[in-house]
């Protein structure tokens, strides 16, 4: 448990990382380093995106599964790593 906490701390301390959000399978945020409104917004929107992506990947080959998803935009990059019951979202600005 401490290991995971440490890892999360390290991620947060990497340069350019704006926030980390952990959401459960229903899209409800469990843990977040951002403010409430942003968290809720990110959680709601990204949850749908990940479900859709996962469905696509698995539809093409049911033995396959989504490992991670990166969405790179002009201002930052959103990285999502899904698990069976949780999603971990990290927002980073790589050029900082």
């Amino acid at each position: 448990m401490a290991e995971v906490e440490e890892t999360l701390k390290r991620i947060q301390s990497q340069k350019g990382v704006q926030g980390i959000i952990i959401i459960n399978a229903e899209g409800i945020p469990i843990k977040s380093t951002l403010d409430n409104s942003s968290t809720v917004q990110y959680a709601g929107l990204l949850h749908q995106l990940v479900m859709k992506t996962r469905s696509t990947v698995r539809d093409l080959d049911p033995q396959n599964d989504l490992t991670f998803l990166r969405v790179r935009s002009k201002k930052n990059e959103i990285m999502i790593a899904p698990d069976k019951d949780y999603f971990l979202i990290v927002i980073q600005n790589p050029s900082d």
């Binding site: 995971v4 906490e5 990497q14 539809d59 033995q63 949780y86």
Partner: protein, 664 residues
């Protein structure tokens, strides 16, 4: 008119005069034309109009349209009834042969008789008896009205139309009650899902697993308990589930942060190498540092054969006076900020080796003479096996360990060499390590059997060893005195050969990956020497102006090797290009940092160097440093170790010829 009228009345009284009067009235009739009458011409008046008399009813409708529900459209009724009824009267005459008439006749026969009797009785005997009879008759009449009881009556008597009494009676009606009952509706929930291909697949997989679990439960009950305990540990902490996911995300974030390095690692090729024919450069890539290892020096490096991005770092101290704890770290190239695995040890680690096949087994040699085997798959920080004072712990630091092939019992075993002059083989048997002395090193060239008991030969301190790549039993040992011994596993006390290599301790000996005869050695006396094991003198000698910490052959070419020195430089040699000088020497770390070890990556063109600050730097080799031989321009580049061997042979031959010529 008046006059005329009166005459008319008079005419009424007299019949004959009436006729005349009518004639007069008729004669005096004047035609009165209505004002809107049509004026027709004579011809038109004479026109004849034919009138046909038909049987059609002029009042009957001509077209009746009815909606048919069978065909669902409006349909015209075909033939229309043309019958027009002007007058109808229902009569009450019956034909005497009809059923009804017959019935009436039958009935009339009886009451006729009764009526006759009644009349007779009434007139002749007006007494009570008569009345009784009448009553009786009346009663019987009544009875006959209701029920046919007298035999001989063929038909039931119908209701008497004249003397009929209808009497109704009302039964007791039960009071009506309405009772309803309402059940509780079953709980309902709305459910919607999409049946994708993967949902179906998942369902099947789950079903399969359930079946398998059932089978296992049936087999053993012991396994059930173990399974339960495992499940308990898994559910205990929610956040431990994140471990894998956080790892992935961390790597993603780091990939972004160190994006340029990752790109360089994969794709960068120094273009300026085309201009420098004889030289190459080293491009610094990642730097691996860990806070807790400050003060420790990197004492050994080892790449993992199976997972190409994982390598192990052993940390300890070369300083005799400062001996403290040690650390074993495993880094991945994907994450340069934090090690994947780390273990703290009580004594400094001097050497490590990762098993070539089972990449989770790591053999470690300590400064205090212990050896241990760690299992990376287990999360405990304790090693799997440790050698203790009882099980043959060496008294001197263990300088090198190397895994060997599994022995005949399929037990893993590894060799170690230490300063007390023993080369020991350790076998992992079940839960413990069993050691066997292989060779005892001595100062003298050979130790005869007879002298063993009398003289205690001074043990030479082995500092490094290496096993031949192909010939399993052959190995080389380098010592602190500078001698290199060629030994065999079969002979425990005798060496096959001795080479007077260096003046100071031999830091590393390595066989060439391709050529079976060539090996290289480096020492603190600032030199690197390349040998052919059949010849007692070195083939090549290189002086590097500084103590050489480590030397390594490259895995891709038989003529390229690299060395690190204590002045912080890396020297890369390619004998094919330049037999006398390094084609690259480059300071890699800050001044005053000594480089201690170097390792080539088996696949990628990178090297890792460890220094005495506990930091590992990775460098990319520029193309000049990794040249492969070109046979002819038109032929394809030949692959394979044979070419490498041939290359080396050529060099050796060249060397031997001038030697021979010089001798001769």
């Amino acid at each position: 008119m008046r006059k005329y009228y009166i005459s008319f009345c008079k005419d009424e009284d007299d019949g004959t005069e009436m006729g005349d009067g009518t004639d007069e009235w008729m004669q005096r009739k004047t035609l009165i034309k209505p004002p809107d009458q049509l004026d027709l011409t004579e011809a038109e008046l004479k026109e004849e109009f034919t009138r046909i008399l038909t049987a059609n009813n002029p009042h009957a409708p001509e077209n009746i349209v009815r909606y048919s529900f069978k065909e669902l459209l409006y349909q015209r009724t075909g033939s229309i009834d043309q019958l027009a009824t002007h007058f109808m009267l229902e009569g009450n005459l019956l034909h005497q042969d009809s059923d009804e008439a017959r019935r009436q006749k039958a009935r009339q026969g009886y009451p006729e008789g009764m009526v006759v009797l009644l009349l007779l009785l009434l007139f002749v005997f007006p007494q009570q008896a008569e009345v009784e009879e009448v009553m009786e008759e009346g009663g019987s009449e009544d009875r006959s009205d209701s029920v046919q009881h007298k035999g001989g009556k063929p038909e039931q008597k119908q209701t008497n139309q004249f003397n009929f009494i209808e009497r109704g009676s009302k039964t007791l009606n039960n009071p009506l009650r309405q009772m309803g009952c309402q059940t509780e509706p079953p709980p309902r929930a709305n459910f919607s899902a999409t049946a994708n291909q993967w949902v179906i697949y998942d369902a099947y997989v789950e079903e399969l697993q359930k079946q398998e679990n059932n089978k296992e439960k049936q087999r053993a009950s012991m396994k059930k308990e173990e399974g339960k305990s495992k499940k308990k540990t898994m559910l205990s902490d929610d956040i431990t589930k994140f471990r894998k996911v956080t790892k992935i995300v961390e790597r993603m974030v780091i990939q972004n942060t160190f994006d340029d390095i990752a790109q360089d690692f994969k794709y960068f090729e120094d273009a300026s190498d085309e201009f420098r024919q004889q030289e190459g450069t080293l491009l610094p890539l990642w730097k691996f540092q860990y806070d807790k290892v400050k003060g420790l020096a990197v004492t050994s490096l080892c790449w993992n054969q199976r997972y190409k991005d994982l390598f192990g770092v052993g940390l300890g101290s070369y300083d005799f006076t400062k001996q403290g704890h040690g650390m074993l770290l495993f880094y991945s190239l994907k994450n340069s900020t934090f090690p994947e695995y780390f273990y703290t040890t009580s004594s400094g680690i001097m050497c490590l080796d990762i098993h070539p096949n089972l990449s989770h087994l790591v053999a470690v040699g300590f400064y205090n003479g212990c050896v241990a085997v760690y299992n990376l798959k287990e999360k405990s920080i304790q090693p799997l096996y440790t050698s203790t004072a009882m099980s043959g712990m060496l008294t001197q630091p263990v300088w090198q360990v190397k895994w060997q092939k599994d022995d005949m019992d399929n037990n893993h075993n590894f060799f170690s060499v230490s300063s007390d002059g023993r080369v020991v083989s350790w076998t992992l048997v079940k839960n413990e390590m069993v050691f066997t002395d292989i060779v005892k090193l001595a100062v003298g060239d050979s130790v005869t059997g007879g002298l063993e008991g009398l003289q205690l030969p001074n043990p030479a301190c082995g500092t490094s060893f290496d096993f031949h790549k192909e010939v399993d039993y052959l190995f080389l040992v380098g010592t602190e005195e500078g001698k290199i011994y060629k030994c065999s596993k079969a002979y425990s006390s005798q060496f096959l050969d001795t080479y007077d290599g260096h003046h100071m301790a031999v830091d590393a000996v390595r066989w060439n990956h391709f050529h079976p005869k060539v090996f290289i050695s480096c020492s603190a006396d600032w030199t690197i020497k390349i040998w052919d094991h059949t010849v007692r003198t070195p083939m090549f000698t290189f002086d590097l102006n500084s103590a050489v910490g480590d030397v390594a052959w490259s895995p891709y070419s038989s003529t390229v090797f690299a060395a690190v020195t204590t002045d912080g430089k890396v020297h890369v040699f390619d004998l094919n290009i330049n037999k006398y000088e390094a084609i690259c020497h480059q300071p890699v770390v800050a001044k005053k940092t000594k480089l201690t070890h170097i390792e080539f990556h088996p696949v990628y063109p990178i090297i890792i160097v460890g220094d005495d600050r506990g930091c590992v730097t990775s460098l990319k080799l520029s193309p000049n440093l990794r040249k492969k031989p070109k046979e002819k321009k038109r032929q394809e580049l030949p692959e394979g170790p044979e070419v490498e061997i041939a290359k080396m042979e050529k060099l050796l031959n060249l060397l031997q010829d001038p030697d021979n010529s010089s001798l001769g």
